[in-house]
């Protein structure tokens, strides 16, 4: 088949055969990858500006540079990763529990809200150069002397829409998990809750140590569902905090629009930082780490077709991570001298160090599960999973090193933090894991559509892996030489590192383009449009006999 024919019709993809559940999942996946592309282009523009500040479109303008830096993480974290993770989980929960998704309508509401919200935040930065950065350190977001008030209102409304979409996702997930239908028809809410929090795993371990029979042989919820349940608790708390901060900023901005001048110093900047970082850290240390651990377990069991190694320990570790993730935010405030020393020591250093344990455990369990099943075929899902393990294997120890009162004094707010830690964790750890999930789910979501080219998939894998690790490494080295993050260097400082980091950024963008090309040539433009048309088959389950694809075929 010719290139043009693939471009229009794909390989063997038939959007008409998709169920409602498959369609809502794919819609969010499509939006997620478009937003990922936007984030990576924005990132590359900043990288290039750090090599030569005068190159368009930034052209040496600090306000343009920082407005890009403000929306870049909003587009990346919410527009892309949130959407992808939410899409995968709204498909996986019905698939794993063999129950229908609570509401397809609500799932549509989620992706539309997050998409519109992200677009609004982007517009606020693009048109009005609203640039308080995503950390919104008080009183910067309400600084109407520096930023347009209207721009601020549009930005905050955008973020609020994202959070409302997030709350809708949470409702949909919990309503599905707690629905007492199908295999859970005879379970009580208490049994589902105990399993959701991982308490049954803990009780099984205790009983084993005491020589007693296990608390339960067949836990009510499978392990990946437990991880999704647990991570979603943090997603909820985090949404409340970000919404709360948004309401505060909005109140000040609206007061300004109405002609009133409210004193920004009525809000204590350090207290606000604590509140905001408590919430924001739940994204990084709660949501990401727990969702990722759960996804590793799921992928390892699907790839090997075997049970997870040390499943009870994994369940109990998820409970431990619950407590840990709520108590670690002070590692972001080690450079704040007003922060009580005890909080720096206990929350910032000691409890944070536990993350080495919980994440190290997840890495170990996943590796041993794979090892026990060898020889395995090096499929794309396995390759990306291993890439994800390398990402966190690099980024988590980097985090533990910097969460230290001695090291943080010279690492805080440098390129080390945002490169060696954040971008390696996100681009290599998180995205590689998510790509693995995409390859695992692809046949289920697209009714066995053939991928256009494995060569393109391979090129994507290597460019993304090398570009991701490389960019993190060069940023990290520049950071150790004193290069700050969140600073627009315009006089050729740290030039060699910046050139190499920019080359890596171009590799990342190229990788994304190749991935996109492969998907478009597999699905076709017709198929892409078809994903967004209403589904004929309203099935909101997957994997329950008869298969939706079988039903669709029978209908035809």
């Amino acid at each position: 088949m010719s290139f043009a024919k693939h471009l229009i019709s794909g390989t063997n993809f038939d959007a008409g055969s998709l169920t409602a559940l498959q369609k809502i999942t794919l819609r969010a996946v499509v939006m997620s990858f478009l937003f990922y592309g936007l984030a990576s282009i924005e990132g590359t523009l900043m990288r290039v500006a750090l090599v030569n500040p005068n190159i368009p479109p930034i052209e040496g303008s600090a306000s343009h540079y920082f407005s890009i830096m403000t929306v870049h993480p909003i587009v990346g974290i919410f527009g892309s990763t949130y959407q992808l993770v939410f899409a995968a989980f709204m498909f996986l929960i019905p698939f794993l529990t063999k129950k229908p998704l609570y509401s397809v309508g609500l799932a549509n509401f989620v992706w539309i809200n997050i998409t519109v919200g992200t677009a609004l935040a982007w517009i606020a930065a693009f048109i009005w150069h609203y640039a308080p950065l995503y950390t919104l350190y008080w009183p910067l977001p309400a600084d109407v002397g520096q930023f347009s008030t209207i721009g601020g209102v549009v930005f905050i409304v955008g973020v609020a829409l994202i959070m409302i979409g997030t709350l809708a996702f949470i409702y949909n997930i919990y309503a599905t998990i707690f629905a007492r239908v199908g295999v859970h028809a005879n379970k009580t809410t208490k049994e589902l809750l105990i399993s959701g929090f991982g308490i049954d795993g803990m009780l099984n371990l205790i009983n084993k140590l005491r020589g007693k029979p296990p608390y339960t042989k067949e836990p009510a919820l499978s392990l990946p569902v437990v991880a999704i349940f647990r991570g979603t608790v943090d997603t909820f708390l985090d949404a409340l905090v970000i919404l709360g901060a948004g309401i505060l900023v909005l109140a000040y901005l609206l007061a300004d629009l109405s002609g009133a001048t409210w004193n920004v110093h009525a809000i204590d900047a350090l207290l606000y930082k604590n509140f905001f970082w408590w919430g924001l850290d739940l994204v990084a240390d709660g949501l990401v780490l727990i969702y990722v651990a759960g996804t590793w377990y799921l992928l390892a069991t699907i790839i090997t077709g075997q049970k997870l190694f040390m499943e009870n320990v994994a369940r109990a570790a998820l409970l431990l991570e619950l407590v840990v993730s709520w108590m670690v935010w002070s590692h972001h405030l080690l450079g704040d001298q007003g922060q009580p020393e005890m909080m720096k020591l206990i929350s910032g250093e000691m409890v944070t160090a536990f993350e080495l344990l919980t994440q190290g455990l997840a890495l170990f369990i996943t590796l041993v599960t794979l090892w026990k099943a060898r020889p395995l075929k090096m499929t794309f899902e396995l390759k990306y999973l291993l890439g994800g393990l390398v990402g966190f294997g690099l980024a988590v120890p980097a985090a533990i090193i910097q969460a230290d009162m001695g090291m943080n004094r010279v690492l805080h707010n440098t390129q080390w933090i945002i490169g060696a830690h954040v971008h390696i964790a996100l681009l290599v750890g998180l995205y590689m894991t998510l790509y693995s999930a995409v390859y695992v789910l692809w046949p289920m979501l697209t009714n066995e559509t053939r991928l256009y080219s494995t060569k393109l998939s391979n090129a994507h894998f290597w460019l993304h892996l090398i570009g991701g690790i490389g960019m993190g490494a060069f940023m990290g080295m520049a950071g150790l030489d004193g290069m700050l993050r969140r600073h627009f260097y315009m006089n050729g400082e740290y030039h060699t590192f910046m050139v190499f980091a920019a080359i890596c950024a171009v590799m990342l963008v190229t990788a994304w383009l190749l991935f996109l090309l492969n998907i478009v040539l597999s699905v076709g433009i017709k198929g892409l449009i078809g994903i967004f048309l209403p589904a004929e088959d309203e099935t909101a389950t997957f994997g329950i006999d008869p298969q939706p694809s079988v039903v669709a075929a029978a209908r035809k």
């Binding site: 920082f66 900047a269 001298q337 009162m405 090291m407 627009f488």
Partner: protein, 191 residues
Amino acid sequence: MTFATSVELLKFHWVAYSIYALIIISVVAWFAYNLTRPNKAKSIVRIPFYGYIGFLVAGGVGHHIFTYNSIPWVSEDIMRHELKPDRTFDIEIADHKFKLPGQMKVNVGERVYFNAKSHDLVYGFGLFRQDGSMVSQMQVNPGTRNDLMWTFNECGEFDVMSTEYSGPGGNDMKVKKALVVTGCDDQKKGA
């Protein structure tokens, strides 16, 4: 082992972390290779589960014990309200500008107390060598105490820069050669 300056610490960190990074990448690469081999590879080492957990705990806790004992500014920071400084400098920040007490002059080995106050936004206070590397820093929040105690074990001229974003207007917040440390014999000379 004691690190007298941040340069020594960061060099050590560079080497140690690079070695670690190469090891973890190689281990996963080795693992990936052996996962696919038809004849089952023997593990080079058998890692007992509890041994591994012990290793993680020891790593997480041991790292802080190591830095507490080898980095002089950790205990100095924790005890800074009990220690008597040799010199105190008050720094004010407002409207994206530093107000410094003239050029700050310090003798090597002196314990200096920086007391910074922001009148509007969140800023940072960072000291940098002429080659751009960082000596030390803290965040400067409006409304709360921002104090940093630092013993200078190196000589040279140091720039002051804001280490926190405070809006595009804060991008130029840099005072060249704002602090000078003298009194080193040639061997000890820093930046």
